[in-house]
Protein backbone atom coordinates (compact mmCIF):
# COMPACT_ATOMS: atom_id res chain seq x y z
CA UNK A 1 0.00 0.00 0.00
CA UNK A 2 1.57 3.32 -1.05
CA UNK A 3 1.35 6.55 0.94
CA UNK A 4 -1.56 7.94 -1.13
CA UNK A 5 -3.56 4.76 -0.56
CA UNK A 6 -2.75 4.89 3.13
CA UNK A 7 -3.93 8.48 3.27
CA UNK A 8 -7.19 7.59 1.50
CA UNK A 9 -7.73 4.59 3.72
CA UNK A 10 -7.23 6.70 6.88
CA UNK A 11 -9.52 9.40 5.54
CA UNK A 12 -12.14 6.79 4.68
CA UNK A 13 -11.96 5.38 8.21
CA UNK A 14 -12.37 8.90 9.62
CA UNK A 15 -15.37 9.58 7.35
CA UNK A 16 -16.85 6.19 8.31
CA UNK A 17 -16.64 7.01 12.02
CA UNK A 18 -18.11 10.45 11.47
CA UNK A 19 -20.85 9.05 9.20
CA UNK A 20 -22.00 6.61 11.87
CA UNK A 21 -22.48 9.28 14.52
CA UNK A 22 -23.94 11.73 12.02
CA UNK A 23 -26.44 9.05 10.95
CA UNK A 24 -27.52 8.55 14.55
CA UNK A 25 -27.66 12.28 15.19
CA UNK A 26 -29.83 13.00 12.14
CA UNK A 27 -32.04 9.95 12.68
CA UNK A 28 -32.65 11.27 16.19
CA UNK A 29 -33.31 14.84 15.05
CA UNK A 30 -35.63 13.68 12.25
CA UNK A 31 -37.45 11.37 14.67
CA UNK A 32 -38.09 14.32 16.98
CA UNK A 33 -38.98 16.99 14.44
CA UNK A 34 -40.74 14.91 11.76
CA UNK A 35 -43.11 11.94 11.79
CA UNK A 36 -40.09 9.77 11.13
CA UNK A 37 -37.87 8.60 8.32
CA UNK A 38 -38.72 5.40 6.45
CA UNK A 39 -36.71 3.86 3.63
CA UNK A 40 -38.72 1.82 1.14
CA UNK A 41 -36.90 -0.81 -0.90
CA UNK A 42 -38.04 -3.34 -3.49
CA UNK A 43 -38.66 -6.79 -2.05
CA UNK A 44 -40.18 -9.49 -4.21
CA UNK A 45 -40.99 -11.62 -1.14
CA UNK A 46 -43.56 -9.06 0.06
CA UNK A 47 -47.11 -8.97 -1.30
CA UNK A 48 -46.86 -5.35 -2.50
CA UNK A 49 -43.28 -5.81 -3.71
CA UNK A 50 -41.75 -3.36 -1.24
CA UNK A 51 -40.33 -3.40 2.28
CA UNK A 52 -40.29 -0.47 4.72
CA UNK A 53 -37.21 0.01 6.85
CA UNK A 54 -37.38 2.37 9.85
CA UNK A 55 -34.51 4.78 10.50
CA UNK A 56 -33.26 2.60 13.35
CA UNK A 57 -32.43 -0.28 10.96
CA UNK A 58 -29.78 -0.64 8.28
CA UNK A 59 -30.78 -0.27 4.63
CA UNK A 60 -29.41 -2.52 1.84
CA UNK A 61 -26.90 -0.69 -0.37
CA UNK A 62 -24.92 -1.97 -3.39
CA UNK A 63 -21.25 -2.86 -2.87
CA UNK A 64 -18.37 -1.09 -4.61
CA UNK A 65 -17.98 2.55 -5.62
CA UNK A 66 -21.34 4.25 -5.16
CA UNK A 67 -22.80 7.53 -6.33
CA UNK A 68 -26.22 8.34 -4.90
CA UNK A 69 -28.38 10.75 -6.87
CA UNK A 70 -31.56 12.20 -5.43
CA UNK A 71 -34.12 14.91 -5.99
CA UNK A 72 -33.63 18.05 -3.88
CA UNK A 73 -36.27 20.31 -2.41
CA UNK A 74 -35.18 20.89 1.19
CA UNK A 75 -32.23 21.16 3.57
CA UNK A 76 -33.73 18.09 5.23
CA UNK A 77 -32.77 16.01 2.16
CA UNK A 78 -29.10 15.80 3.15
CA UNK A 79 -30.04 15.00 6.74
CA UNK A 80 -32.37 12.18 5.64
CA UNK A 81 -29.80 10.66 3.28
CA UNK A 82 -27.00 10.85 5.86
CA UNK A 83 -29.31 9.25 8.48
CA UNK A 84 -30.10 6.32 6.17
CA UNK A 85 -26.81 5.79 4.32
CA UNK A 86 -24.38 6.75 7.11
CA UNK A 87 -25.41 3.73 9.16
CA UNK A 88 -24.22 1.38 6.43
CA UNK A 89 -21.41 3.17 4.60
CA UNK A 90 -19.22 6.23 4.96
CA UNK A 91 -20.94 9.06 3.12
CA UNK A 92 -20.21 12.56 1.86
CA UNK A 93 -22.79 14.96 0.46
CA UNK A 94 -21.77 17.24 -2.38
CA UNK A 95 -22.64 20.83 -1.48
CA UNK A 96 -22.48 24.22 -3.14
CA UNK A 97 -19.42 26.19 -2.08
CA UNK A 98 -21.12 29.49 -2.91
CA UNK A 99 -23.97 28.70 -0.47
CA UNK A 100 -22.44 26.81 2.43
CA UNK A 101 -18.92 28.20 2.56
CA UNK A 102 -19.77 31.90 2.73
CA UNK A 103 -19.58 32.17 6.49
CA UNK A 104 -17.74 30.25 9.18
CA UNK A 105 -20.81 29.02 11.12
CA UNK A 106 -22.56 27.63 8.05
CA UNK A 107 -19.35 26.01 6.80
CA UNK A 108 -18.68 24.44 10.18
CA UNK A 109 -22.26 23.21 10.50
CA UNK A 110 -22.38 21.71 7.02
CA UNK A 111 -18.94 20.10 7.13
CA UNK A 112 -19.19 18.89 10.71
CA UNK A 113 -22.78 17.82 11.01
CA UNK A 114 -23.58 16.66 7.47
CA UNK A 115 -20.16 15.79 6.06
CA UNK A 116 -20.17 17.93 2.93
CA UNK A 117 -17.85 17.82 -0.05
CA UNK A 118 -18.03 21.41 -1.31
CA UNK A 119 -17.74 22.18 -5.02
CA UNK A 120 -18.17 25.35 -6.99
CA UNK A 121 -21.34 25.61 -9.07
CA UNK A 122 -19.89 27.99 -11.62
CA UNK A 123 -16.66 26.13 -12.40
CA UNK A 124 -15.94 22.76 -13.98
CA UNK A 125 -18.09 20.53 -11.77
CA UNK A 126 -16.58 17.29 -13.06
CA UNK A 127 -13.01 18.42 -12.39
CA UNK A 128 -13.98 19.29 -8.82
CA UNK A 129 -15.83 16.03 -8.33
CA UNK A 130 -12.78 14.11 -9.53
CA UNK A 131 -11.05 15.19 -6.30
CA UNK A 132 -13.32 12.67 -4.59
CA UNK A 133 -12.42 9.86 -7.00
CA UNK A 134 -10.06 7.96 -4.67
CA UNK A 135 -12.45 8.23 -1.75
CA UNK A 136 -15.42 6.93 -3.76
CA UNK A 137 -13.32 4.10 -5.16
CA UNK A 138 -12.27 3.27 -1.60
CA UNK A 139 -15.92 2.88 -0.60
CA UNK A 140 -17.20 6.30 0.42
CA UNK A 141 -20.73 6.84 -0.95
CA UNK A 142 -21.03 10.24 -2.62
CA UNK A 143 -24.45 11.89 -2.59
CA UNK A 144 -25.26 14.36 -5.36
CA UNK A 145 -28.32 16.41 -6.12
CA UNK A 146 -28.20 16.67 -9.94
CA UNK A 147 -30.80 19.45 -10.01
CA UNK A 148 -28.06 21.70 -8.64
CA UNK A 149 -30.34 23.56 -6.23
CA UNK A 150 -33.43 23.03 -4.12
CA UNK A 151 -36.72 22.94 -5.97
CA UNK A 152 -39.04 25.70 -4.74
CA UNK A 153 -42.28 23.89 -5.65
CA UNK A 154 -41.24 20.32 -4.80
CA UNK A 155 -41.26 19.20 -8.44
CA UNK A 156 -38.19 17.47 -9.85
CA UNK A 157 -36.30 19.86 -12.16
CA UNK A 158 -34.02 18.80 -15.04
CA UNK A 159 -30.85 17.05 -14.02
CA UNK A 160 -27.33 18.26 -14.79
CA UNK A 161 -25.06 15.58 -16.22
CA UNK A 162 -22.04 16.10 -13.90
CA UNK A 163 -22.96 13.37 -11.43
CA UNK A 164 -23.43 10.82 -14.24
CA UNK A 165 -20.25 11.79 -16.07
CA UNK A 166 -18.39 11.40 -12.79
CA UNK A 167 -19.98 7.99 -12.10
CA UNK A 168 -19.19 6.81 -15.65
CA UNK A 169 -15.63 8.10 -15.38
CA UNK A 170 -14.84 6.13 -12.23
CA UNK A 171 -17.18 3.21 -13.08
CA UNK A 172 -19.25 3.71 -9.97
CA UNK A 173 -22.76 2.36 -9.47
CA UNK A 174 -25.46 5.01 -9.53
CA UNK A 175 -28.26 4.55 -7.00
CA UNK A 176 -31.30 6.78 -7.58
CA UNK A 177 -33.19 7.73 -4.44
CA UNK A 178 -36.52 9.53 -4.49
CA UNK A 179 -36.98 11.71 -1.42
CA UNK A 180 -40.59 12.35 -0.44
CA UNK A 181 -41.90 14.44 2.40
CA UNK A 182 -38.96 16.77 2.98
CA UNK A 183 -40.60 19.47 0.90
CA UNK A 184 -43.55 19.36 3.30
CA UNK A 185 -41.25 19.22 6.33
CA UNK A 186 -38.94 22.12 5.44
CA UNK A 187 -39.56 23.75 2.05
CA UNK A 188 -37.12 26.20 0.54
CA UNK A 189 -37.18 29.50 2.42
CA UNK A 190 -39.04 28.13 5.47
CA UNK A 191 -37.59 28.99 8.88
CA UNK A 192 -39.54 26.37 10.81
CA UNK A 193 -40.27 22.76 10.00
CA UNK A 194 -43.56 20.87 9.92
CA UNK A 195 -44.23 17.50 11.44
CA UNK A 196 -44.61 15.20 8.42
CA UNK A 197 -43.29 11.76 7.44
CA UNK A 198 -40.26 11.40 5.20
CA UNK A 199 -39.80 8.53 2.72
CA UNK A 200 -36.68 7.52 0.86
CA UNK A 201 -37.55 5.23 -2.07
CA UNK A 202 -34.56 3.36 -3.38
CA UNK A 203 -34.47 2.89 -7.17
CA UNK A 204 -32.53 0.36 -9.21
CA UNK A 205 -28.75 0.65 -8.96
CA UNK A 206 -27.05 0.72 -12.36
CA UNK A 207 -23.80 1.48 -14.15
CA UNK A 208 -23.74 4.49 -16.45
CA UNK A 209 -23.02 4.08 -20.15
CA UNK A 210 -20.30 6.65 -20.84
CA UNK A 211 -21.39 6.97 -24.47
CA UNK A 212 -24.95 7.94 -23.62
CA UNK A 213 -24.65 10.28 -20.64
CA UNK A 214 -27.63 12.46 -21.60
CA UNK A 215 -29.95 9.47 -22.11
CA UNK A 216 -28.74 7.94 -18.83
CA UNK A 217 -29.37 11.24 -17.04
CA UNK A 218 -32.92 11.37 -18.39
CA UNK A 219 -33.49 7.70 -17.55
CA UNK A 220 -32.43 8.11 -13.92
CA UNK A 221 -34.45 11.33 -13.57
CA UNK A 222 -37.54 9.58 -14.98
CA UNK A 223 -37.07 6.77 -12.47
CA UNK A 224 -36.88 9.25 -9.58
CA UNK A 225 -39.94 11.16 -10.89
CA UNK A 226 -41.86 7.87 -11.11
CA UNK A 227 -40.89 6.94 -7.53
CA UNK A 228 -41.84 10.44 -6.35
CA UNK A 229 -45.38 9.93 -7.66
CA UNK A 230 -45.99 7.06 -5.23
CA UNK A 231 -47.88 8.06 -2.07
CA UNK A 232 -45.98 8.92 1.10
CA UNK A 233 -46.10 6.06 3.60
CA UNK A 234 -46.50 6.92 7.25
CA UNK A 235 -45.02 4.16 9.40
CA UNK A 236 -44.34 4.31 13.15
CA UNK A 237 -40.75 4.02 14.30
CA UNK A 238 -39.12 0.71 15.21
CA UNK A 239 -39.59 1.25 18.97
CA UNK A 240 -43.30 2.07 18.73
CA UNK A 241 -44.05 -0.87 16.40
CA UNK A 242 -42.36 -3.36 18.74
CA UNK A 243 -43.76 -1.99 22.00
CA UNK A 244 -47.26 -1.75 20.55
CA UNK A 245 -47.15 -5.43 19.56
CA UNK A 246 -46.09 -6.35 23.10
CA UNK A 247 -48.75 -4.13 24.68
CA UNK A 248 -51.54 -5.78 22.73
CA UNK A 249 -50.27 -9.31 23.28
CA UNK A 250 -50.55 -11.43 26.40
CA UNK A 251 -46.84 -10.79 27.05
CA UNK A 252 -47.62 -7.18 28.00
CA UNK A 253 -50.16 -8.21 30.62
CA UNK A 254 -47.89 -10.91 32.04
CA UNK A 255 -44.89 -8.55 32.24
CA UNK A 256 -46.96 -5.85 34.02
CA UNK A 257 -48.36 -8.39 36.48
CA UNK A 258 -45.13 -10.18 37.37
CA UNK A 259 -43.06 -6.99 37.50
CA UNK A 260 -45.45 -5.44 40.03
CA UNK A 261 -45.78 -8.76 41.88
CA UNK A 262 -41.99 -9.13 42.07
CA UNK A 263 -41.56 -5.52 43.19
CA UNK A 264 -43.87 -6.22 46.13
CA UNK A 265 -41.51 -8.99 47.28
CA UNK A 266 -37.87 -8.46 46.23
CA UNK A 267 -37.59 -6.89 42.73
CA UNK A 268 -35.72 -3.54 42.99
CA UNK A 269 -37.34 -1.73 40.03
CA UNK A 270 -40.62 0.16 40.34
CA UNK A 271 -43.91 -1.51 39.39
CA UNK A 272 -44.99 1.23 36.99
CA UNK A 273 -41.90 0.92 34.79
CA UNK A 274 -43.13 -1.64 32.23
CA UNK A 275 -46.67 -0.28 32.58
CA UNK A 276 -45.54 3.17 31.44
CA UNK A 277 -43.35 1.78 28.69
CA UNK A 278 -46.25 -0.22 27.24
CA UNK A 279 -49.35 1.86 27.90
CA UNK A 280 -48.28 4.89 25.85
CA UNK A 281 -48.79 2.87 22.66
CA UNK A 282 -52.30 1.50 23.18
CA UNK A 283 -54.41 4.55 22.22
CA UNK A 284 -58.04 4.85 23.41
CA UNK A 285 -58.50 1.12 23.82
CA UNK A 286 -59.54 -1.04 26.76
CA UNK A 287 -56.10 -2.63 26.70
CA UNK A 288 -54.86 0.39 28.68
CA UNK A 289 -57.20 -0.43 31.53
CA UNK A 290 -56.21 -4.11 31.37
CA UNK A 291 -52.52 -3.20 31.69
CA UNK A 292 -53.21 -0.94 34.70
CA UNK A 293 -55.37 -3.63 36.31
CA UNK A 294 -52.74 -6.32 35.84
CA UNK A 295 -50.07 -4.11 37.46
CA UNK A 296 -52.43 -3.28 40.37
CA UNK A 297 -53.38 -6.91 40.96
CA UNK A 298 -49.72 -7.98 40.72
CA UNK A 299 -48.70 -5.32 43.23
CA UNK A 300 -51.47 -6.23 45.72
CA UNK A 301 -50.61 -9.94 45.58
CA UNK A 302 -46.88 -9.12 45.92
CA UNK A 303 -47.41 -6.92 49.00
CA UNK A 304 -49.75 -9.43 50.63
CA UNK A 305 -47.26 -12.25 49.92
CA UNK A 306 -44.42 -10.34 51.61
CA UNK A 307 -46.64 -9.43 54.58
CA UNK A 308 -47.66 -13.09 54.96
CA UNK A 309 -44.09 -14.42 54.58
CA UNK A 310 -42.64 -11.95 57.11
CA UNK A 311 -45.45 -12.51 59.61
CA UNK A 312 -44.59 -16.25 59.37
CA UNK A 313 -40.90 -15.61 60.01
CA UNK A 314 -39.61 -15.72 56.42
CA UNK A 315 -37.69 -12.65 55.26
CA UNK A 316 -37.48 -12.29 51.47
CA UNK A 317 -34.33 -10.57 50.13
CA UNK A 318 -34.52 -6.77 49.84
CA UNK A 319 -31.85 -5.55 47.41
CA UNK A 320 -31.20 -1.81 47.09
CA UNK A 321 -32.80 -0.95 50.41
CA UNK A 322 -31.24 0.64 53.50
CA UNK A 323 -31.89 0.22 57.24
CA UNK A 324 -33.14 3.82 57.37
CA UNK A 325 -35.86 2.95 54.84
CA UNK A 326 -37.09 0.18 57.18
CA UNK A 327 -36.96 2.51 60.21
CA UNK A 328 -38.96 5.26 58.47
CA UNK A 329 -41.51 2.79 57.05
CA UNK A 330 -41.99 1.14 60.48
CA UNK A 331 -42.37 4.54 62.15
CA UNK A 332 -44.97 5.67 59.61
CA UNK A 333 -46.95 2.40 59.84
CA UNK A 334 -46.96 2.64 63.66
CA UNK A 335 -47.88 6.30 63.97
CA UNK A 336 -49.93 7.00 60.82
CA UNK A 337 -51.25 3.79 59.28
CA UNK A 338 -53.64 5.61 56.94
CA UNK A 339 -50.95 7.95 55.63
CA UNK A 340 -47.99 5.55 55.43
CA UNK A 341 -48.58 4.38 51.87
CA UNK A 342 -49.45 7.96 50.84
CA UNK A 343 -45.91 8.94 51.90
CA UNK A 344 -44.62 5.97 49.92
CA UNK A 345 -46.04 7.48 46.71
CA UNK A 346 -43.20 10.00 46.40
CA UNK A 347 -40.59 9.21 49.03
CA UNK A 348 -38.74 6.52 47.08
CA UNK A 349 -38.92 3.81 49.76
CA UNK A 350 -39.84 0.58 47.93
CA UNK A 351 -43.27 -0.87 48.69
CA UNK A 352 -41.67 -4.18 49.72
CA UNK A 353 -40.13 -2.34 52.70
CA UNK A 354 -43.60 -1.23 53.88
CA UNK A 355 -44.93 -4.75 53.23
CA UNK A 356 -42.06 -6.18 55.28
CA UNK A 357 -42.66 -3.81 58.19
CA UNK A 358 -46.41 -4.51 57.99
CA UNK A 359 -45.53 -8.18 58.59
CA UNK A 360 -43.13 -7.34 61.43
CA UNK A 361 -45.66 -5.19 63.35
CA UNK A 362 -47.82 -7.26 62.45
CA UNK A 363 -50.81 -5.56 60.81
CA UNK A 364 -54.02 -7.50 60.31
CA UNK A 365 -55.06 -8.32 56.74
CA UNK A 366 -57.89 -5.77 56.84
CA UNK A 367 -55.51 -3.04 58.11
CA UNK A 368 -53.08 -3.88 55.33
CA UNK A 369 -55.85 -3.86 52.72
CA UNK A 370 -56.96 -0.35 53.75
CA UNK A 371 -53.37 0.92 53.97
CA UNK A 372 -52.66 -0.34 50.45
CA UNK A 373 -55.28 1.91 48.79
CA UNK A 374 -52.73 4.69 48.03
CA UNK A 375 -50.54 2.08 46.38
CA UNK A 376 -53.33 1.24 43.93
CA UNK A 377 -54.03 4.95 43.48
CA UNK A 378 -50.39 5.56 42.53
CA UNK A 379 -50.24 2.76 39.97
CA UNK A 380 -53.59 3.86 38.51
CA UNK A 381 -52.56 7.52 38.39
CA UNK A 382 -49.21 6.83 36.75
CA UNK A 383 -50.76 4.31 34.35
CA UNK A 384 -53.59 6.70 33.46
CA UNK A 385 -51.09 9.53 33.06
CA UNK A 386 -49.04 7.44 30.65
CA UNK A 387 -52.20 6.37 28.83
CA UNK A 388 -53.36 9.99 28.39
CA UNK A 389 -49.89 11.25 27.55
CA UNK A 390 -49.44 8.47 25.00
CA UNK A 391 -52.65 9.57 23.31
CA UNK A 392 -51.89 13.26 23.29
CA UNK A 393 -48.26 12.81 22.28
CA UNK A 394 -48.72 9.84 19.93
CA UNK A 395 -47.96 12.08 16.96
CA UNK A 396 -44.45 12.59 18.34
CA UNK A 397 -44.01 9.32 20.19
CA UNK A 398 -44.71 7.22 17.08
CA UNK A 399 -41.27 8.16 15.75
CA UNK A 400 -39.40 8.79 19.00
CA UNK A 401 -40.62 6.11 21.42
CA UNK A 402 -37.53 3.92 20.99
CA UNK A 403 -35.33 6.92 21.67
CA UNK A 404 -37.38 8.09 24.66
CA UNK A 405 -37.35 4.62 26.20
CA UNK A 406 -33.63 4.10 25.59
CA UNK A 407 -32.78 7.42 27.24
CA UNK A 408 -35.15 6.70 30.14
CA UNK A 409 -33.72 3.24 30.72
CA UNK A 410 -30.15 4.55 30.48
CA UNK A 411 -30.84 7.26 33.08
CA UNK A 412 -32.96 5.16 35.41
CA UNK A 413 -29.97 3.68 37.32
CA UNK A 414 -28.83 7.20 38.25
CA UNK A 415 -32.27 8.02 39.63
CA UNK A 416 -32.30 4.77 41.57
CA UNK A 417 -28.84 5.48 42.95
CA UNK A 418 -29.84 9.00 44.04
CA UNK A 419 -32.94 7.65 45.80
CA UNK A 420 -31.01 4.91 47.62
CA UNK A 421 -28.27 7.40 48.49
CA UNK A 422 -30.87 9.76 50.00
CA UNK A 423 -31.99 7.01 52.37
CA UNK A 424 -28.48 5.91 53.29
CA UNK A 425 -27.10 6.93 56.68
CA UNK A 426 -23.80 8.64 56.04
Amino acid sequence: MNSVEMGVSRLKAKIARASRWRARLWATILAIFTRGLTTIVSDSTQTDGTRSIPAARKIPLPDGPLVVVANHSSHADSAALVAAIGRVRPVLVVSAKDYWNQEATAEWLSAGLIGTFAISRDGDGLAELMRAKELVQAGVALVLFPEGTRSADGKVADFHTGAFRFAAEIEATVLPIAIRGTHEVLPKGARRGRHRPINLRLGNPSKINQKAIKQETVRVRDEIVELCELPIEDHPGFGWARVSRLAFGWVGLVVCFFWAFGEGIFWPLIAEMPLLLLIVTVGWRWRGLALIASACVGSIIGVVTTWWLVSHGINPPSPLTTPRMFEVAAEQLRTDLGGAFWHQMLNGIPVKVYAHEAGVLPLSFSELAVAMVPRIVRITLIGAGGWLLGNFLSRWLRSTLGLVQSVTLALFPFGLWLTVWYWTDL
Binding site: E103, A104, T105, A106, L109, R191, H343, L346, N347, G348, L411, F414, G415, L416, L418, T419, W421, Y422, W423
Partner: protein, 107 residues
Protein backbone atom coordinates in the same frame (compact mmCIF):
# COMPACT_ATOMS: atom_id res chain seq x y z
CA UNK B 1 -19.54 51.58 6.65
CA UNK B 2 -18.67 48.18 8.11
CA UNK B 3 -21.62 45.84 8.65
CA UNK B 4 -21.72 45.04 12.36
CA UNK B 5 -24.90 42.96 12.27
CA UNK B 6 -24.60 39.20 12.74
CA UNK B 7 -25.40 36.95 9.79
CA UNK B 8 -28.70 35.05 9.51
CA UNK B 9 -27.40 31.64 10.68
CA UNK B 10 -25.47 33.10 13.63
CA UNK B 11 -28.46 35.27 14.53
CA UNK B 12 -30.86 32.29 14.45
CA UNK B 13 -28.52 30.19 16.61
CA UNK B 14 -28.24 33.06 19.12
CA UNK B 15 -31.99 33.67 19.27
CA UNK B 16 -32.74 29.98 19.86
CA UNK B 17 -30.05 29.76 22.53
CA UNK B 18 -31.80 32.66 24.28
CA UNK B 19 -35.33 31.25 23.86
CA UNK B 20 -34.51 27.82 25.28
CA UNK B 21 -32.45 29.34 28.12
CA UNK B 22 -35.28 31.72 29.03
CA UNK B 23 -37.84 28.91 28.98
CA UNK B 24 -35.73 26.68 31.18
CA UNK B 25 -34.92 29.48 33.60
CA UNK B 26 -38.67 29.89 34.13
CA UNK B 27 -39.12 26.16 34.60
CA UNK B 28 -36.16 26.01 36.98
CA UNK B 29 -37.62 28.86 39.05
CA UNK B 30 -40.89 26.91 39.31
CA UNK B 31 -38.96 23.81 40.46
CA UNK B 32 -37.11 25.90 43.05
CA UNK B 33 -40.35 27.19 44.56
CA UNK B 34 -42.00 23.75 44.37
CA UNK B 35 -39.22 21.93 46.24
CA UNK B 36 -38.29 24.73 48.67
CA UNK B 37 -41.98 25.25 49.43
CA UNK B 38 -42.50 21.48 49.99
CA UNK B 39 -45.33 21.33 47.45
CA UNK B 40 -44.69 17.59 47.10
CA UNK B 41 -44.32 16.82 50.79
CA UNK B 42 -41.26 16.55 53.02
CA UNK B 43 -39.51 13.73 51.18
CA UNK B 44 -40.18 14.05 47.44
CA UNK B 45 -37.19 11.82 46.67
CA UNK B 46 -38.51 10.31 43.42
CA UNK B 47 -39.34 13.68 41.88
CA UNK B 48 -36.11 15.24 43.15
CA UNK B 49 -34.06 12.40 41.61
CA UNK B 50 -35.90 12.75 38.32
CA UNK B 51 -35.46 16.52 38.12
CA UNK B 52 -31.82 16.36 39.25
CA UNK B 53 -30.98 14.11 36.31
CA UNK B 54 -33.14 15.99 33.82
CA UNK B 55 -31.81 19.40 34.86
CA UNK B 56 -28.21 18.20 34.78
CA UNK B 57 -28.64 16.96 31.21
CA UNK B 58 -30.73 19.81 29.86
CA UNK B 59 -28.69 22.58 31.48
CA UNK B 60 -25.42 21.07 30.23
CA UNK B 61 -26.87 20.93 26.72
CA UNK B 62 -28.34 24.43 26.78
CA UNK B 63 -25.20 25.95 28.30
CA UNK B 64 -23.03 24.36 25.60
CA UNK B 65 -25.48 25.66 23.02
CA UNK B 66 -25.28 29.19 24.46
CA UNK B 67 -21.47 29.08 24.60
CA UNK B 68 -21.39 27.85 20.99
CA UNK B 69 -23.72 30.71 20.03
CA UNK B 70 -21.32 33.19 21.66
CA UNK B 71 -18.35 31.53 19.97
CA UNK B 72 -20.09 31.77 16.60
CA UNK B 73 -20.05 35.57 16.95
CA UNK B 74 -16.36 35.81 17.76
CA UNK B 75 -14.92 34.98 14.36
CA UNK B 76 -16.88 37.56 12.38
CA UNK B 77 -16.64 39.84 15.49
CA UNK B 78 -20.27 40.86 15.09
CA UNK B 79 -22.50 40.68 18.11
CA UNK B 80 -26.11 40.49 19.22
CA UNK B 81 -27.20 40.35 22.87
CA UNK B 82 -29.13 37.04 22.66
CA UNK B 83 -26.32 34.52 23.24
CA UNK B 84 -24.86 36.56 26.11
CA UNK B 85 -28.26 36.71 27.77
CA UNK B 86 -28.58 32.95 27.20
CA UNK B 87 -25.29 32.33 29.01
CA UNK B 88 -26.47 34.48 31.95
CA UNK B 89 -29.86 32.76 32.14
CA UNK B 90 -28.24 29.31 32.06
CA UNK B 91 -25.85 30.38 34.83
CA UNK B 92 -28.89 31.46 36.85
CA UNK B 93 -30.65 28.16 36.21
CA UNK B 94 -27.57 26.22 37.28
CA UNK B 95 -27.38 28.24 40.51
CA UNK B 96 -31.06 27.52 41.24
CA UNK B 97 -30.61 23.80 40.50
CA UNK B 98 -27.52 23.45 42.68
CA UNK B 99 -29.18 25.38 45.50
CA UNK B 100 -32.43 23.42 45.58
CA UNK B 101 -31.07 19.90 45.01
CA UNK B 102 -28.14 20.27 47.39
CA UNK B 103 -30.71 21.43 49.95
CA UNK B 104 -32.91 18.38 49.36
CA UNK B 105 -30.16 15.75 49.25
CA UNK B 106 -28.17 17.29 52.12
CA UNK B 107 -31.09 16.71 54.52
Amino acid sequence: MTNKRVSRVTDTVGRWAFRVAAFYFGFMTLQWFAFRGSWFGETPTILASFFTIMDALVLTLFTLFAVAAVAAQLKPWRFSWHPWAAVLLNAGSIWLAVDVFSWIFAK
